[in-house]
Symmetry: C2
Amino acid sequence: MKKGITPKSQDYNKWYTDVITKAELADYGPVKGTMVIRPYGFEIWDRLKNSFDTRFKETGHVNAYFPLFIPKSFLAKEAEHVEGFAKECAVVTHSRLKTNESGDDLVVDPDSRLQEEIIVRPTSETVIWSMYKKWIHSYRDLPILMNQWANVVRWEMRTRLFLRTSEFLWQEGHTAHETEKEALEETKRMLDIYQEVVEEKMAIPVLTGTKSDSEKFAGAEETYCIEAMMGDKKALQAGTSHYLGQNFSKAFDVKFQTKDNKENFVYATSWGVSTRLIGALIMVHGDDKGLRLPPNIAPIQVVVIPVINKEYDPDKFKVYIEKLITEMDDNDIRYYVDDREQYTAGYKFNEWEMKGVPIRLEIGPRDINNKQAVMARRDIGEKETISINDSFKTIQSCLINIQEKLFSQAKKFQEDNTFTVNNYNDFKVQINKGGFIRCGWDGSPESENKIKEETKATIRCILTEQNTSNLKCIYSDKPAQHEVIFSKAY
Amino acid sequence: MKKGITPKSQDYNKWYTDVITKAELADYGPVKGTMVIRPYGFEIWDRLKNSFDTRFKETGHVNAYFPLFIPKSFLAKEAEHVEGFAKECAVVTHSRLKTNESGDDLVVDPDSRLQEEIIVRPTSETVIWSMYKKWIHSYRDLPILMNQWANVVRWEMRTRLFLRTSEFLWQEGHTAHETEKEALEETKRMLDIYQEVVEEKMAIPVLTGTKSDSEKFAGAEETYCIEAMMGDKKALQAGTSHYLGQNFSKAFDVKFQTKDNKENFVYATSWGVSTRLIGALIMVHGDDKGLRLPPNIAPIQVVVIPVINKEYDPDKFKVYIEKLITEMDDNDIRYYVDDREQYTAGYKFNEWEMKGVPIRLEIGPRDINNKQAVMARRDIGEKETISINDSFKTIQSCLINIQEKLFSQAKKFQEDNTFTVNNYNDFKVQINKGGFIRCGWDGSPESENKIKEETKATIRCILTEQNTSNLKCIYSDKPAQHEVIFSKAY
């Protein structure tokens, strides 16, 4: 019943949505802007979640759960935070429905109007800092290193599955520290963890750096980010880690008694990654046949498919793959034996290619006679006949190779499409062709805004590793304050 | 700073809240009715979640995620469902805030009023069946065995941490089947899993059965439940599994093509357990010193505390416990070495007793000289001097013993407080003293309602194992249709 996927080259956006719906990663929910994460997509998220969570715990963080509902007045407490966040959000105003007079419909009961409207959390700084106010009194109570896995809501009318939906899943870490130094170290530590998981598990190379004032988190002193290049050469912000200074502790009056018996406001960080990462996974590795999943994050790493014809003998097949199955079990290789008889081999090949399973093993009666199997790699599309006796070892090393290959391919793509330009004309020409532009910026919001107005490109990050000697601002020609990456972005 | 816990005997409700706040399981959120689950409480929930999730997956279920927001009109589709659920809920009516005219406050932007109001999910049958409508066409698409871990909202003004809060965390399974038989088997399978986890992990004995029509889930044909007795002899519904028949498939028009090429509505189940289970854990096992956690669910199973005095030598202590630590690591025993120097031994003993850690190991300089340690059991409060060389084995078998002991103690309490009565006067006398009453019921809503009005007791369950021969209804004296458990309940 499924039709093919629109080719990337023909319509990138359509291709993206086709992959998601046809690989059954997600679907549109009934309320505009909402998304259903289907089991295959959810399992990818679950694996990502576990990879992050393990590292959070190794670095001393604990999980907790804070309420979905925030009093409207809380959002007004941190001035910059309001500006950046309070505008588009879900507002709860009533607490009861009732049957209407004609008895045929449900209406909102006007008597249930709330005294103060409630906001569905767009992020939890305010509700969490209202609790920290209760829990933090002394340096003995610090640091607090908490994280929560939760749903958040930011009203969006232009839905894009995984990338832009009203509700999405994420983790948000919120930490409280005695000193600026400790909080800054925490901010960078979490950025390192983000980079590590995204590069090692998802095979997505990232650039690291900080945001300009106009792009940073509302309420942060400094926003650190990881930035990735998608298959259409646009940038995607893949994770952010914020140094909040004392902004929220001051807004919520969270002071602590220091070791030398003085009083000070607490220093804070917050950091998050979301289901948007799945969008990145699709756009970085996907091709015209669908997903290509890095083995480290794939729900199924190997699919084993018997060729079902007149000669097919299920018992014989079972015995034939027994050793391989045992070895895969013992080594935690995630596999699926697709011996469903109601589907043709062609249908199955197509389905698992769409779903991005890294390795497919085809086994026909002739293979059994020759003690072999045909191994097909999803990443490069090559087929190879391998010995069944060594098949586990061959598969194991092939999975490692696929993981590396996907990373190096994406890395090369990113490097090949990152350009250094020296004048604004070249900048404008290149930005229309796509890719990242590495150049100087004078640090002024004026230059940044003009560039954005004229080209739609934004500063994706002020690079961690940079060299500004003799560098000039690409727009103003003044001496550069920073070396930055400009790009169009999601 | 922490004061003691109010004794159970003095004020059960106060005792319950004291345990939660002083063991730092949870706290009140800023919006009335909401709860913050603190890290220690959240870790218990996480362990419970993993125990359930493993069993869900073993029985073929997959996780997914459906939207938080439900169109108001969906709730009106299944008539009984509306009656039971739609009344008290969070209604989203607007999607934007703006700064007021004087520029000093945030107000709801009247222009952002939604065309159709949105409900924050109280449960997800409606939104899930609207998706199943898109996904189910043929018997080949069945069964669908999905579960989600999510937050849900039911407006509550009388908050009781874990037991009754506006927002709570739970899992909700939603399955779709070809036949009534298959769906009924699923309903019972999930009830068995609930019983297994609650009894084996939480050491809470439960009764199983079905609900009367007045107590069953709005929209279900039959509600199966597990029911537990709390420390004050009241009942708590600990989990429910619903056979939904074709109610939701008819409401959402979900038909499928059968194997013999006909058309039929899908058969459904739904089942859930929530963070309310943590309330049960506290009330079943807690005592005047705080929590008593069953080892199988305890975040920390063993706390090792050095006696810190003049003779204390951290290096020597470390060497002394090295073998035990290695053995605990190798066997996945969850332990914490509390060598914090800023707290007294008394403070630590009190803290870990409050937090219900099953075993405490105290080690002083004299113990080191004698190659021993003092092992204190949280469940029965006894202390024992044990050999350090055998300490791992002693601890291991003690943990098993504590788990069994907590279960058998709770089981005995439940049995001792379950009474069989033969006439309504005895019923009324006994129900005021507390406990479960096992008796006959004629099956009529009239008798059930009268008993509820006159005694506040409800039918907790129609017992799975029952004998109605010669049994009469406790209220009407007519022949009993069912043998049931009556009790006051949370």
